[in-house]
Each structure stands twice: as C-alpha cells, then as structure tokens.
C-alpha cells in the first residue's frame, strides 16, 4: 500500500534526523554531564588572568580535571576571582596545591595548570568551596619584554 | 406545509462590488424549495460571484442572503459551517481533489462530517456513484477522467451528504452534446428524486429553459426578467429577447463602446 510506504519513509526520515542529532551531540560537542554530585567547586585569586576564558580547561600533567566556570573581579581587593568546577573523580589534591595560568604552545589558548602540593598530616585535601592561595598569574608578553629590557638596562650600569 | 411555501433562499437588495467595479447593484430573488431555479445571463456578469455570495464565500456590500431564514453573512463562522453542510456546490471545473481517487473524493465529506463507519460510507459512496453512472470508475484518479465524467464525479461528491440545495456553476459549459444531455437528465432526476433545491447558473439558454422550473435573467447588474420558461419565451422585453434568441446585435450592442467609426478612421494618429 502506498500509505505504508510513506509511513515507512517518514519513519526513516525522522530516525535519520535523530541520528544526526545524536552524532552532533555525542561525537561533535563536548557535553559533560555536570550535576553537582559529580563535581566540586574551588576558587582562586589571580592578579592577571591574561587570556583565560570561561570553560578553559584545568589540567594536571596534561589531563583535564576540571573547567573554569566563572571569572569575576573581587570588588574590594580588585583581583580576578576564578571559579573552577572540578571532577569528583579527582578529589585527592592537597590544599597546598598551586594553580598557574599557562599557555599551550607559543600562541595557543590559555589553561589552568594545577600542580599538586606536598602532603602532610596537617594538610587536608581540597574540598567543595575551598580556595587555593598559591597562584601564578598569566605571563603577559609585554611585561616580559619590559622586564627583560629593564634588567638589560640595570646590567649595563 | 407552510415550510414548503417559504423560499429556501431569499436574496434581498444585494449589492456587491470588486474594487471600483460594481458587479451587482440591487438584486432580489427567491429560490423555492424542491424546484430547479435557473439564473441566466451573459458571460462576465458575475453569476459565479452570485453563487459564492449565496454560499457565504464572499461578503456583499449591502443586502442580505437568507438561507432557510438565517442570514448567511450575519451568522458566526461555526453557524455558517453548519449551514454549509446543508448545501453543496458543483464547481465549473469540477474541483475534484487531484491527489485522491474518485471514490475517496466522494467519500471525503462523509468521512469528515458524518462519523459513519467505513463500510456504511462505502455503501453510500457506491450508491452515489451509481446514480451518476460512474461506479465502474471509482478507483480512477480525477486526471484519468474526461471533462464530462469529472463533472459527474463532482456531482456525486456534491450530493454525498444529501444536501437540501445544490448550486450548479455553469454545469453545461464546455461539454459535448452527449455529456450535456447526461447532465441535464441528472440534474432534473436528482432534483425530483431527492426533492433537492437546485440553483443552476448558466448561459446555455436551451438546456436551462428545458429543465428549469423558474428562471431569473440577470444583466447589467440587475435582474431584468423572471418567470417560468414559458413566460420568458413569450416576453417582449427586447434585452431578454436578444439573449434568448441569441441575436448578435440589439440592446446589448455588438460593438464595444467606441468613438465614431468614420471619424476614427480619418483621424491621423491614435492620440488625436
């Protein structure tokens, strides 16, 4: 029957559309199921975040363990406050860990590098809402060149 | 029996214009129940428009169309749709739905409105097709039918819901003598057998005078004459005579209004 054939083809059409959607969602996009159960949040202050953006990755030894979820300015201290959402699977970082804004490659995008600190008896692990004090700001090329020229000048004297 | 006496459709002082062009100035006529009423007139005077006004597809500038006492243009949309279930229209082109076959065309309104089960619908459709002699063509597509057969199939569709009134728009136009004869016979028979009120709009004088019980002649935006076919044949209104006898010249002039012939020929250039 003609209508059966049409129904069949329309079914194929709808399923193909759905398949394309699933391909785009799971194969192309980087969705992370972010429920508060599987993540925890930490904060850090930076004097200069350079080119860091919301959703920039947080890496430990090159492995992505979290992402920047928001960037604000502390209205009193006038420093950048970066909020990071960390994956619960990686929750064994000591409080003494440090965060640095690094650049992938010479001109690549910027990310947060997390360096685990020392573990001691009176050092607890990072947990939700904690703040990392040991941070290193982004290297800004102009400042680097300025420092370099300054040190060259002082050496001449 | 009083119901028999009041006309089914009454048109009162109807006026209609399209843009600047006035089509009807002041038309009044009444269509009796169970009879074949013909509306005749030269082509291009808006006979089809008149049918669309009766069916409520167009709205008049002034005047009323009463269908069984209801003002077609005064009622709500829902009521209008209820009234339309009691009438149907045979379009000049047939207007069959081209993507479904003859059977489904006839069954269309039944499936839509009647709520009857499919096997009863099948019986009704076959009966209607039998009445127009097309039962054998039920599974054909409209494009496979000849013009006359299309019109008969459309007629079967028009009477599928057993309406009280059928409006025929130029049913004889462009038909060969045989299909014309068939259609004349069908209209008359259906009217008598189903006690149908028929309104035939046409300019085919002989056929119309042959089947109509009462005739209105519309010309020049007005009804110029009405009466039984016998009365009209013997009327001495010159405009009517010209129309009925088909004389090329008369009150309706052969020439479109123009300047004096001799003057125009002698004039140099068009603009002068």
């Amino acid at each position: 029957m003609l209508t059966r054939k049409i129904e069949l083809l329309v079914g194929v059409f709808l399923l193909t559309g759905l398949a394309a959607f699933l391909v785009l969602v799971f194969n192309v996009a980087n969705i992370e199921v972010k429920s508060s159960d599987s993540t925890y949040t930490i904060k850090a202050n930076f004097t200069n975040i350079g080119g860091l953006k919301v959703r920039s990755p947080v890496k430990v030894g090159g492995v992505v363990v979290g992402r920047v979820s928001s960037i604000d300015l502390d209205p009193v201290k006038l420093v950048a406050v970066v909020t990071v959402v960390m994956d619960k699977r990686y929750d064994k970082f000591p409080e003494t860990s440090s965060l640095a804004i690094l650049t992938s490659g010479l001109l690549g995008e910027q990310f947060l590098g997390l360096t685990p600190g020392f573990v001691d008896d009176d050092v607890s692990m990072l947990k939700d809402g904690d703040k990392i004090d040991d941070t290193r700001s982004a290297l800004v090329l102009e400042e680097l060149i300025g420092q370099f020229l300054y040190s060259m000048g002082s050496k001449d004297k | 029996m009083t119901q028999k006496q009041t006309p089914l459709v009454e048109i009162r002082n109807l006026g209609f214009s399209r843009g600047q062009r006035v089509i009807f100035e002041d038309i009044s006529l009444s269509i009796p129940r169970g009879k074949v009423t013909a509306i005749m007139g030269p082509s291009g005077i808006g006979k089809t428009t008149l049918l669309k006004l009766i069916g409520g597809q167009l709205t008049p500038d002034h005047g009323q169309v009463l269908f069984d006492g209801h003002d077609i243009h005064g009622v709500s949309r829902n009521e209008l749709f209820q009234l339309r279930k009691r009438m149907s229209m045979l379009f000049q082109s047939g207007a069959l739905f081209t993507d479904i076959n003859v059977f489904d065309n006839v069954a269309f309104a039944l499936r839509e409105h009647s709520g009857l089960p499919e096997d009863i619908i099948r019986t009704i459709v076959l009966m209607k097709l039998e009445a127009v002699g097309l039962r054998g063509a039920a599974q054909m597509m409209p494009s496979e039918l000849s013009g006359g057969m299309q019109r008969r199939a459309a007629l079967a569709r028009a009477i599928a819901l057993e309406p009280e009134m059928v409006l025929y728009d130029e049913p004889f136009a462009g038909q060969d003598p045989i299909s014309m004869g068939v259609l004349v016979k069908l209209i008359r028979e259906l009217s008598d057998a189903l006690n149908l009120t028929s309104v035939v709009v046409s300019h085919d004088v002989d056929e119309v005078l042959g089947i109509a019980d009462y005739v209105y002649v519309v010309a020049g935006k007005k009804v110029i004459a009405h009466g039984t076919p016998e009365e009209l044949k013997h009327a001495d209104n010159p405009q009517l005579k010209q129309f009925i006898q088909g004389a090329p010249d008369g009150p309706v002039p052969f020439h479109y209004p123009a300047r004096d012939y001799q003057q125009e020929l002698l004039a140099k250039g068009v603009g002068k």
Binding site: I6, G17, L24, V28, A29 | S88, F108, A109
Partner: protein, 261 residues
C-alpha cells in the same frame, strides 16, 4: 502634482505591505490555533512530512557532503600556512553548525520544498479545490495549510542536523583521508571547541526560526495566488526570492543576538 502622486503611491504600497503582513498573520493564526484535531490531522501530517521532508533529503545530504568537503579543502589550504591544520575540525564544524547548516538548508528547502508548496496550493486554489473544501464546511486552513506548516517546521531542523552531520563527515573525508590530518587530533580538537549550548542549541534555534519563516512565506504565497498559470509561476518565484532574503536577513539578526556579544 507628480510629487503628490508618487507620495500617494508610496502610501498605498506601504498600506499594501502592512495589509499583506496582516493577512499572512491571520492565515497562520487560523491554521495553527483553530480547532486542533489530533486524530484526523495526524495522517495528513505524516503525508506532508513525506512530501516536504523525505523528498528534500537527497538534495540536503548531497549538498551537505560537498559543502563540508569544499570547506575542508579551502580551510586546509589556509591553515596549513600557519601550521595549524589540526584546527580544520573546529573550523568545519563551527562554520557548519553556526552558519552554513541552518542557512544553506533553509535556502535549499525554500527552493525545493517551498516552491513546491506554493505551486501545489496555488493550483488547488485555481482549480477551486480550496473553495470546494469551504463549501463542504471544511476549513482549508485546517485541512490544507496547517499540516503543511507543521511538516515544514518539523522537517527543516531535522534536515539541518543531517546537513551538518554529513558536512562534518565530508570535512573528515577531505582532512583526514585525503590530506592526512591525524584522525584523533581532528576529532579531539573538534570536540573540545564545539559546545552544546553555544553551537548545537543555537543551530537548532536558527533553523527553527528559518523553518517557520520559509514555510509561512511559501504557504501564504500559494494561498494568495492570483488563480491563473501566470499567477502561480509568479508566486513560486516570489516564494524563493522572499524566503531567501528573509533567511539571510534573519540570519544576521540571530547571529548578532547569539554571537555578537
């Protein structure tokens, strides 16, 4: 006098313009908000999805593949100059998701399905099929316009998704199979840069808006056709021209809203 005449003309065409919008709006209103019927409407909808969606699938898939491949080829030639040919993935995927997918699908849809809708409805009108529905006490807006409208609105986003997915695979074919970019790098960088909310949801929003506009214009042009062959051919042309312009103009607006910050 000339001046007054031309001002009057201008006013008249302005009124016509507004009037047209009003009529089109009323048509849409009548088609989608009056008496929804699920049981009888569903088979009509399936049939129209077949006509509007399934029959446009081949042209959409083939165009998507070729556009993805061309995009990858051109992109590769530029990116290789910077030594960043691995970024080909995001380049192809983002251009397809954000712009080319919705826009090109809408343009192809207007040409393939929109013009066919206009011609079909125009023909129905000129053969008095619409009038005859009305005389049968069946609302043509509900019976004819509504299923076609919904079919268009459902089909086009699906077609856009297919176009984009096939286009990305086209880019993969050129980039990875032909030009030899590492397959892992292609996909991982692509996945890192495509975002669910920013890219895929916006792609769907865009194509949803285009679907409404293109289908609406096509149906309105058919519904308002001057019932003769010349009128139908004019209306078909108008459908393609007007919906293409509308799509491109709206694309700018939507892009400005979504990515302009």
């Amino acid at each position: 006098m000339k001046l007054i005449d031309s001002i009057a003309d201008l006013g008249r065409s302005a009124i016509e313009f507004v009037l047209g919008f009003g009529r089109a709006g009323l048509m849409l209103w009548g088609a989608i908000f009056r008496w929804p019927r699920v049981r009888k409407g569903f088979p009509l909808l399936v049939r129209q999805i077949y006509v509007v969606g399934v029959q446009s699938m081949v042209i959409i898939l083939v165009s998507g593949l070729f556009i993805g491949m061309v995009l990858a080829l051109q992109g590769y030639n530029i990116l290789v100059g910077f030594g960043t040919e691995e970024s080909l993935g995001p380049m192809v995927a983002l251009s397809l998701l954000r712009e080319l997918g919705p826009v090109v699908t809408a343009l192809l849809f207007a040409g393939r399905a929109g013009s066919a809708l206009t011609a079909e409805i125009g023909l129905m009108k000129s053969t008095e099929q619409l009038s005859s529905l009305e005389m049968m006490a069946i609302d043509p807006l509900r019976q004819i316009i509504a299923p076609r409208f919904w079919a268009g609105v459902i089909s086009m986003p699906l077609l856009t998704l297919m176009f984009t997915a096939v286009g990305i695979y086209g880019g993969h074919i050129v980039g990875v199979e032909w030009k030899g970019i590492d397959s892992g790098a292609f996909w991982s960088i692509l996945q890192a840069s495509v975002e669910w909310r920013q890219d895929i949801v916006n792609c769907l929003i865009k194509s949803g808006v285009f679907a409404v506009v293109v289908t609406w214009i096509a149906l309105y042009r058919g519904y308002q056709v001057i019932p003769n062959p010349e009128g139908i051919s004019r209306a078909t042309t108008q459908t393609v021209v007007q919906s293409s312009l509308a799509v491109l103009a709206l694309d700018f607006l939507l892009t400005a809203l979504m990515f302009g910050r």
